[in-house]
């Protein structure tokens, strides 16, 4: 059993490998050197150990490539595997691959890709070729979605473990949308999430929120945790309604700031989620110059700081939305990377952390898994 942490960075993919104890990791040389990989994924379904990397060079455009041999070789599609058909209304072109999400075990050949400009693609051949999910592309809200600082990104794709026809996506900006029919129709489900960047009196909107990330609870598939552009939220009804569980209107929530990018749920313990607070949208660095992961174990009623082993002096780090993950094991391995090239890991549910790698390019995406 090997634990692998895949890093998508601004200059290539790096693979960190360890044994099951996960005390010490070896760092690979860069794969796809020089390319900006905004998304990585590890697909262990169907007897595979397939590593995906999405992104590419500034010059030649983005694409999705995969490796079935731990990064030794990568696919090199002659034709782009994720692309809008010529003549698509509006003349779009895929500008970035923000998310690669394998579906459930029930359909091991299905893989989703969330791209800029706010579109969802689906592969039904294990991630080799992709088709546009037209129901979302043709959504009547589309003309009113606007790009956030990173572009018009569709960055979160969740497939319901009970029914792979139920899909959730999130975009910045646009908000959270759910489909109950495999992507044919979509409804905005953002009730309760305040768009604080809009004028007072106009913040309770149907859509247009700047959702930074959503994660599903380990024990209740109808429960989500959500990090917003200000505000941490939970939904217990599959996103129909949301309640604020951190900062803002919640006094003494325990988090020093409710601004941040990633949110990760524990792989096995329900009601347990992790965030990494940043100072503010104007100062996107770890809050109060301390690098701390905050954990709730009671569905957001309280939060505790996890700081053992993390820098606590002059720590002005930025952790992006896709750069924090777990490895699915118990106790949970947790891993996050920074824009300044550090990677921190915990092998004990976040109780303590260690520096796994440093001096890497900016870390954009992190995924981890135990593989045979």
């Amino acid at each position: 059993m090997t634990t692998v942490v895949a890093l998508g960075t601004a200059k290539g993919v790096f693979l960190l490998t360890s044994d099951k104890a996960r005390n010490k990791f070896e760092v690979s040389p860069p794969h796809l050197p020089g390319e900006a990989l905004y998304s990585v994924a590890i697909d262990t379904r169907g007897g595979r150990n397939r590593f995906f990397a999405g992104g590419g060079s500034w010059h030649w455009g983005p694409q999705i490539r995969y490796s079935d041999d731990l990064g030794a070789t990568w696919s090199e599609p002659v034709e782009r595997s994720v692309a809008f058909a010529e003549g698509t209304d509006g003349g779009p072109s895929v500008a970035q691959i923000w998310q690669i999400q394998p579906s459930t075990e029930a359909e091991p050949e299905v893989v989703y890709a969330g791209v800029e400009p706010s579109a969802l693609f689906r592969s039904e051949d294990g991630g080799l070729t992709y088709s546009l999910v037209e129901g979302l592309w043709n959504h009547p809200h589309r003309p009113q979605w606007t790009p956030g600082g990173g572009g018009m990104c569709l960055h979160t794709v969740l497939v319901d473990p009970r029914d792979p026809n139920r899909l959730d996506v999130a975009m910045s900006t646009g908000g959270h949308y759910r489909s109950d029919d495999r992507g044919s129709t979509w409804n905005a489900r953002n009730k309760g999430i305040k768009a604080v960047f809009l004028p007072e009196g106009q913040q309770d909107v149907e859509f247009g929120q700047c959702v930074h990330r959503i994660a599903r609870d380990a024990s209740d598939a109808d429960t989500f945790f959500l990090q917003h552009h200000w505000g941490i939220y939970r939904s217990d009804d599959s996103g129909d309604t949301w309640v604020n569980i951190g900062g803002g209107e919640v006094a003494d929530s325990g988090v020093p700031s409710d601004f941040g990018f990633p949110v990760v749920t524990h792989p096995t313990q329900g009601g347990t989620a992790y965030v990494i607070p940043l100072n503010s949208d104007m100062f996107r660095a770890t809050a109060e110059a301390k690098c701390r992961v905050y954990r709730t174990s009671d569905s957001g009623k309280s939060w505790e700081a996890l700081s053992t082993g993390l820098p606590q002096d002059n720590a002005h780090l930025t952790i992006l939305r896709d750069a924090f993950c777990h490895d699915g094991q118990s106790p949970a391995g947790l891993y996050f990377g920074t824009r300044t090239g550090q990677v921190f890991g915990s092998n004990n549910d976040g109780e303590s952390w260690s520096l796994l790698a440093e001096n890497l390019p900016p870390v954009l995406s992190v995924r981890a898994a135990a593989i045979d």
Binding site: H59, W60, G61, Q63, A83, F84, G87, T88, G91
Partner: protein, 74 residues
């Protein structure tokens, strides 16, 4: 792309046909809608195609088409 070769011979009567006829080149040089990517420049016999007829620029036997990525990025 192009089998890793820096120089290849290709057929076509326009720049669009030439770049589309080399393995792996079209998807890198052109976007999903067949437009030249922002950071890519194409020259025919030393002249930038934006000074000519763009991708419709005519190409004859022996002409030289150069694909030059701009040195951009961080």
């Amino acid at each position: 792309m192009a089998g890793g070769k820096a120089v290849v011979e290709a057929e076509g009567t326009t720049v669009r046909a030439v770049v589309g006829g080399i393995e792996g080149v079209r998807q890198r040089v052109l976007d999903d809608q067949g437009r030249v990517r922002v950071h890519v420049n194409l020259f025919v016999n030393g002249a930038h195609i934006r000074e000519l007829d763009g991708l419709d620029t005519a190409v004859d036997d022996g002409d030289e088409v150069v694909i030059l990525p701009a040195v951009s990025g961080g």
